[in-house]
Symmetry: C2
């Protein structure tokens, strides 16, 4: 969805006449402009030069201390501040894999992770999965037989399905000894009683690396996230040449996030997001008459039998809406032609209802 050549300000491109359910971006009016501006000014007042010079390689203490207290299940020695979850995955892939190595990926899963992995020459193999998500025993057997370096998945309010891996499968998976990279980007965006326990949490930090992000909870443009991992891996990250040279990967922004966190602004903002994105979710799922996911930003819509997602796309766009066809979320595009991903984050509820109506109009008469 990116246009090269002409430089713009933002990645999003408005297409006249289209209410686009394809963008997994925040609703612009839900970005915390005032609170972030205040946190920036307060950080420079409080910390002075320390907010602008070379930082600690794993991230600055004020953010790491707040973050560890906030997540409750990681120590400072298990924490490395990244320039976002994607950057974290790129760093891990650089450190842990070599060209030709196998990485298992959940099926379906976050499509842009595929290229981050293949940029480093990794060979992607889909993990066995069914309607409830990844199948742990079969996945572990496949990982062993292929010598997979790790398994990548988004087990909580996942992209694209909105679903979470059931608790019993989580327990089974972490008991099987498969090295796991858990993309935990959507954890905070629950619309019911909370999120299921992270694989990182269930594993007590053994054999699981967790990717966290402030992209969905605060703002994507900050390029800020974190990795939780064993201290030995955190040390290897900190010793990478450009991390050491730069004094961390996003020091000043991390310092502002520390203020945003310790001031209480983070908790207030995320509580507001839960209320607002719950309304978004209910608007879209209500208009479509489909079950509502418990968290995240996505609805994984099964199409009527015989209808192909990619064939539907131009028809939907003629009706004034759009989406991401399911095959994008399968490594090698080996599946998903009977599903589309609809995002409810980027449009306001009234627009979501209108978009759902257009999508229904684009479907063949039942």
């Amino acid at each position: 969805m990116t246009r090269f050549g002409a430089v713009t300000i933002v990645q999003f491109e408005h297409r006249p006449g289209i209410l686009d359910l394809g963008w997994g971006h925040p609703l612009p009016s839900l970005l915390p402009l005032g609170a972030w501006s205040g946190a920036g000014a307060e950080t420079l007042e409080t910390y002075g030069w320390q907010a602008l010079t070379y930082g600690h390689p794993t991230g600055p203490a004020p953010l790491i201390d707040w973050l560890c207290a906030h997540v409750g299940d990681a120590t400072p020695g298990q924490t490395f501040v990244t320039a976002g979850a994607s950057h974290g995955l790129a760093l891990l892939t650089q450190l842990l894999t070599g060209p030709g190595d196998v990485v298992l990926v959940d099926s379906p899963t976050y499509h842009l992770a595929f290229q981050i992995l293949t940029d480093h020459g990794v060979r992607l193999v889909p993990a066995p999965a069914d309607e409830d998500g990844l199948r742990p025993a079969e996945t572990a057997a496949l990982a062993r037989s292929l010598g997979a370096v790790f398994l990548y998945l988004v087990p909580t309010f996942g992209n694209p399905t909105g679903r979470s891996l059931p608790l019993e499968r989580r327990r089974e998976l972490v008991s099987l000894g498969v090295p796991i990279v858990e993309d935990d980007t959507y954890r905070e965006l629950y619309y019911g009683d909370g999120a299921p326990p992270a694989l990182w949490h269930l594993a007590n930090g053994h054999g699981v690396v967790r990717l966290g992000s402030f992209a969905k909870t605060v703002a994507p443009g900050l390029r800020l996230g974190w990795i939780n991992a064993a201290p030995s891996l955190i040390d290897r990250l900190a010793r990478l040449g450009y991390v050491h040279s730069g004094g961390g990967v996003n020091h000043s922004t991390a310092m502002t996030m520390a203020t945003f966190g310790t001031s209480g602004a983070y908790e207030r903002h995320v509580a507001r997001l839960r209320d607002r994105y719950r309304e978004h979710r209910d608007a879209l799922t209500g208009a479509l008459g489909v079950p509502a996911p418990d968290g995240g930003w996505f609805v994984w819509l099964r199409l009527p039998a015989g209808l192909d997602a990619e064939a539907l796309l131009p028809r939907a766009e003629r009706h004034g809406t759009s989406f991401v066809p399911g095959p994008a979320f399968y490594a090698g595009r080996g599946g998903g032609s009977d599903h589309v991903r609809l995002s409810f984050s980027h449009l306001a509820p009234a627009d979501l209802i209108e978009a759902a109506g257009r999508l229904r109009a684009a479907l063949p008469a039942e």
Copy 2:
């Protein structure tokens, strides 16, 4: 110089009793606290949500437009915003090299670049050089014979020497067709009439990639810089998985820098830095009785005959000062034992004079 384990705020570590000439960091009081705070608030007011959401993959238009006008010799299509010069070098190494490939490095040159290159499995080979810097014809011959992927150097106010490659050698080098990565970090910090033309400039952008940085001119903690390169390479950078996924690598900070640039704050601040760091340079070189470099942050001090840099270090520290011994700046540590690098950026002039006195006291009586 980085301590792992205990998480701190900044990379710098104060050692009681030591006036340390080893740190290539800015003087804390010269970081633009107020102006940066103002630019951050103004950016959020001016651009609103566009400053916080997913950005354009090569960097946001307001920064790229200002930057191209400022440098005067690159187009938007030749520009990619990085998370600092080190990050730029890491990205280029990832894209352009494979394990075992040869990269030539100037000798001496920026020591932390070595690890950025070797993190990707590159084999470093020192380029032939003499007292005036890199020798172009011999370097080109060596590059050809080894099939070197590129040559890395800091030709302008270089780290560690403070020297610039003479103009005739610049012209010769770019005429020889060696692919070059030019680290141009210190260009703005000239204390005389200006800086010599960049290799990028002399080559009209052909065969040269330029790394720029805001670390020395504004603040290291921002993690912000840029790459100038052929549009085909800029496109490859923009298509990297985590760049595409993240919408650029440091969008919000880049937007604030656009405001800092277009408002005139950048020019005012850099003019002030030139005046202040010129005083630093004169304080240190005057106290040592050595020639003053025309720019940058470093003095490359030749030791009295027979004195070894690493042997001198503990003796200097007993006298209350410190430095980086010369061998650190040679790939494979194959040289430099007769030199030390002294930085005049991080200490105020009075401290520089005191440190110079301590260093002279640590030298053997003449």
